[in-house]
């Protein structure tokens, strides 16, 4: 009688997580390597976009596409702006905790309400959610500064040291991005079986004892919290919380970063954000043509790389990689849990 093969303890963090967190640590070095404001600004925008796109990545693990990222970015951003301007809180750790917790807590009642919805209904409701959030920002004048937004946020301090110039702002963004990615990596790795089961066959998962809605609600709240951190980073860069930074249509950008980058892995979100944000900046020089060129790029990427950029990379390594492709095949399967879409 054969014995059960020993299950090789999969490492807590997969290679994709380690590579991603490593790249983010590199981003910390950028402010020390260069003073060039464009590189600093570019890195800022990429890191903010990537952190926001995490909100999409986390929910995609359960095949739920969320348009709600801008709404929770707004919650995080305005929370920080109010604390900074009205109650003089500038310590970065307090602000980051506030941005994360307030967004996550806001997501709890909403999550309970909409997480019973499947597939396209989840997409539609999160789209409506972001439209409502935008309207609330305008209507709640006394609280959110209405259409003028909240202006003149004091610079953030780290242990009392004021972080005012470009490179300081990038350090704050890099820190927030690292924390966001760490939280997302820990969540998606620790619960990779649960999320994959919900995505592949939630009826079977429940029959085995998995309370799917609890994990969906948890993921929705954590995704909201991470988006709140991205909102904090954006407001810190602009020193202003302004409604136009959180427009409903921007939700489509964050979804594009996660999917075109490769929804199968957390590295895909970072790569997608890096490439597409740079493309947007490059196209901006073309004036009127910029949205059209961006649209064309997305169509081409979607047709050419169904698995996103990461999918292309994986196929490339598989075809030329010397390692036994079967092992990579199964590792990738568990890693990405990329079942049917």
């Amino acid at each position: 009688m054969k014995e059960l093969p020993a299950s090789e303890r999969a490492p807590f963090f997969g290679t994709y997580e380690k590579v991603t967190l490593g790249l983010l640590l590199l981003a910390f070095a950028v402010p020390f390597l260069t003073r060039n404001p464009q590189i600093l600004s570019q890195s800022n925008l990429i890191l903010i976009a990537a952190t926001a796109a995490l909100g999409v990545y986390i929910m995609l693990r359960m095949d739920l596409m969320s348009f709600a990222v801008p709404a929770f970015m707004a919650v995080g951003g305005y929370t920080v702006a109010m604390l900074g301007i009205r109650s003089g809180v500038t310590d970065v750790f307090a602000l980051a905790a506030a941005a994360f917790l307030v967004s996550a807590l806001c997501a709890v009642p909403l999550g309970w309400m909409i997480l019973r919805l499947k597939g396209v209904y989840f997409v539609l409701v999160t789209f409506v959610l972001t439209e409502i959030c935008q309207l609330l920002l305008f209507e709640a004048g006394p609280l959110t500064g209405g259409s003028n937004g909240l202006v003149g946020m004091p610079s953030v301090t780290v242990f009392g040291y004021e972080m005012y110039d470009n490179s300081h702002v990038l350090m704050i963004t890099a820190g927030l991005a690292f924390v966001g990615f760490l939280i997302a990596a820990v969540l998606t790795r620790a619960l990779r079986y649960e999320f994959a089961a919900i995505e592949k066959n939630d009826v079977l998962a429940e029959s085995l004892g998995l309370a799917c809605w609890k994990y969906k609600a948890l993921a929705f709240s954590v995704a909201a919290g991470v988006s709140g951190l991205a909102g904090f980073a954006l407001v810190n860069m602009l020193l202003t919380a302004h409604p136009t930074s959180f427009s409903p249509l921007s939700s489509v950008n964050y979804i594009t970063y996660a999917i075109v980058g490769g929804k199968g892995s957390i590295l895909g979100t970072l790569i997608g954000a890096a490439i597409l944000v740079s493309a947007t900046e490059f196209f901006a020089l073309r004036g009127e043509l910029s949205p059209g060129l961006y649209g064309l790029l997305i169509i081409v990427m979607t047709l050419v790389a169904p698995g996103g950029i990461m999918g292309l990379a994986e196929n490339f390594f598989r075809r030329f990689g010397k390692r036994d492709s079967k092992a990579l095949e199964t590792k990738v399967a568990v890693q990405s849990g990329s079942g049917h879409s």
């Binding site: 600004s41 305008f138 003028n148 470009n166 602009l238 136009t244 900046e281 004036g287």
Partner: protein, 390 residues
């Protein structure tokens, strides 16, 4: 160690001049953060056209000569997408190309996004935006290109009171920054003129204004003010007001775009009695400016009348650079700018205003015109002198 370029050129090959790093040629680069996509694209295109014209004019007529060396003027336009972070990232791109002179942006959200970056990188900027906080003492190197409604609303309302009788007005505008700031200023000035105002806001992106029109007419206003509603929206509102049976005078106390409003509404007879702020009094001088643009640029000027205000602003900026004899010191250029008289060879003389409204005297006020349509027929523009500090 200044070596005049003339001697260098005749003595040695240009390449070697670059090598020994003598007084290099003077290259002024001007950053233009302009909205070039989306609903507000027409205003960004007018800004870009004006700056490119002013740059070419300055080079051909050698208007900027710094210690004997005539400067080349290059323009770098970037699409800001009418958002705060779009403007901020454009400004950072300019900072990276060590551009210190900015002309633009157009809209309130963009100005909100670009000011912190201008301050951090010590840039001088000439901005539009009708927001109440577009300029202020905390941004000493930021100038405003022209009077907001606080400047020219009064004279236009007086002109309207002369021709039409109205005791109440309904002001309509989008509920974002560009709308609310202006509508509230217009309301104050109407009240000061003895006309009872009501304000009505709509969500930007509304396509059919029949409900809004019905709500406004419920208050039975004698007149309507379109304030800063975008031209497309304003055109629909006028068309639907007339369809609903409103026959009173309509004001447009906000940005330009009357031609477009007339086209969307269906012609001057639909506008019927219409008064608006025209940035420039079209006369022989300004028509000469249009011809000069066509000669220099080989194409007709951008249609949006904001073009003239941006030409005024661009030329003032270039004059300040010439006066300050510096292409990158924001403080020196700003100081020179404050001392310059507010005038333009085609557009006429004006004044520095803004102390009362903004707390800093850095808003240029120059002669403008009051556009009038009466009984469906366009009347000649009524030239109005530059508004002085009240």
């Amino acid at each position: 160690m200044k070596i005049s370029i003339g001697r260098l050129l005749c003595g040695t090959v240009l390449a070697s001049a670059a090598l020994i790093g003598g007084a290099t040629a003077c290259e002024l680069k001007v950053g233009v953060p302009a909205v070039l996509s989306g609903p507000a694209a027409q205003w960004g295109i007018a800004l870009r056209g004006a700056m490119e014209f002013a740059a070419k004019e300055a080079m051909e007529e050698k208007r900027i000569v710094i210690n004997g060396v005539p400067c080349t003027v290059s323009v770098m336009p970037i699409d800001t997408k009418y958002t705060a972070e779009g403007a901020a990232s454009a400004m950072n791109a300019f900072a990276a190309a060590n551009i210190k002179v900015i002309v633009g942006p157009v809209g309130s959200p963009e100005v909100t996004g670009m000011k912190p970056v201008a301050k951090r990188n010590r840039m001088v900027a000439m901005v539009n935006s009708f927001a109440k906080n577009s300029i202020g003492p905390e941004w000493p190197t930021v100038f405003h290109i022209g009077p907001g409604p606080s400047g020219w609303a009064g004279p236009i309302i007086d002109e309207g009171l002369k021709r039409f009788k109205f005791k109440s007005v309904a002001i309509v505008a989008p509920n974002d920054q560009g709308g609310t700031d202006i509508a509230s200023v217009n309301a104050q000035i109407f009240k000061a003129k003895g006309v009872a105002p009501t304000e009505e806001y709509y969500q930007r992106g509304t396509t059919n204004f029949a409900p809004i029109v019905t709500r406004m007419l419920a208050a039975k206003p004698d007149a309507i003010d379109l304030a800063s509603s975008p031209a497309g929206d304003a055109g629909i509102i006028v068309k639907q007001l007339r369809q609903a049976g409103f026959n009173g005078p309509i004001f447009r106390l906000g940005g330009p775009g009357t031609e477009e409003i007339a086209r969307v509404a269906g012609g001057y007879d639909v506008l019927k009695d219409f008064l608006w702020f025209e940035p420039i009094a079209m006369d022989d001088n300004t028509r000469a400016l249009e011809k000069k643009y066509e000669k220099l640029m080989g194409a007709p000027r951008p249609e949006n009348a904001d073009f003239f205000r941006w030409v005024f602003a661009a030329r003032m900026t270039l004059k300040a650079i010439q006066a300050a004899q510096s292409i990158d010191d924001a403080e020196k250029i700003s100081a020179a700018m404050r001392k310059l008289p507010v005038e333009d060879e085609h557009i006429g003389k004006g004044h520095w205003i803004g102390q009362k409204f903004f707390g800093i005297n850095q808003e240029m006020s120059y002669p403008f015109a009051i556009g009038i349509i009466e009984g469906g027929k366009q009347q000649p523009y009524k030239r109005a002198d530059a508004v002085k500090e009240g």
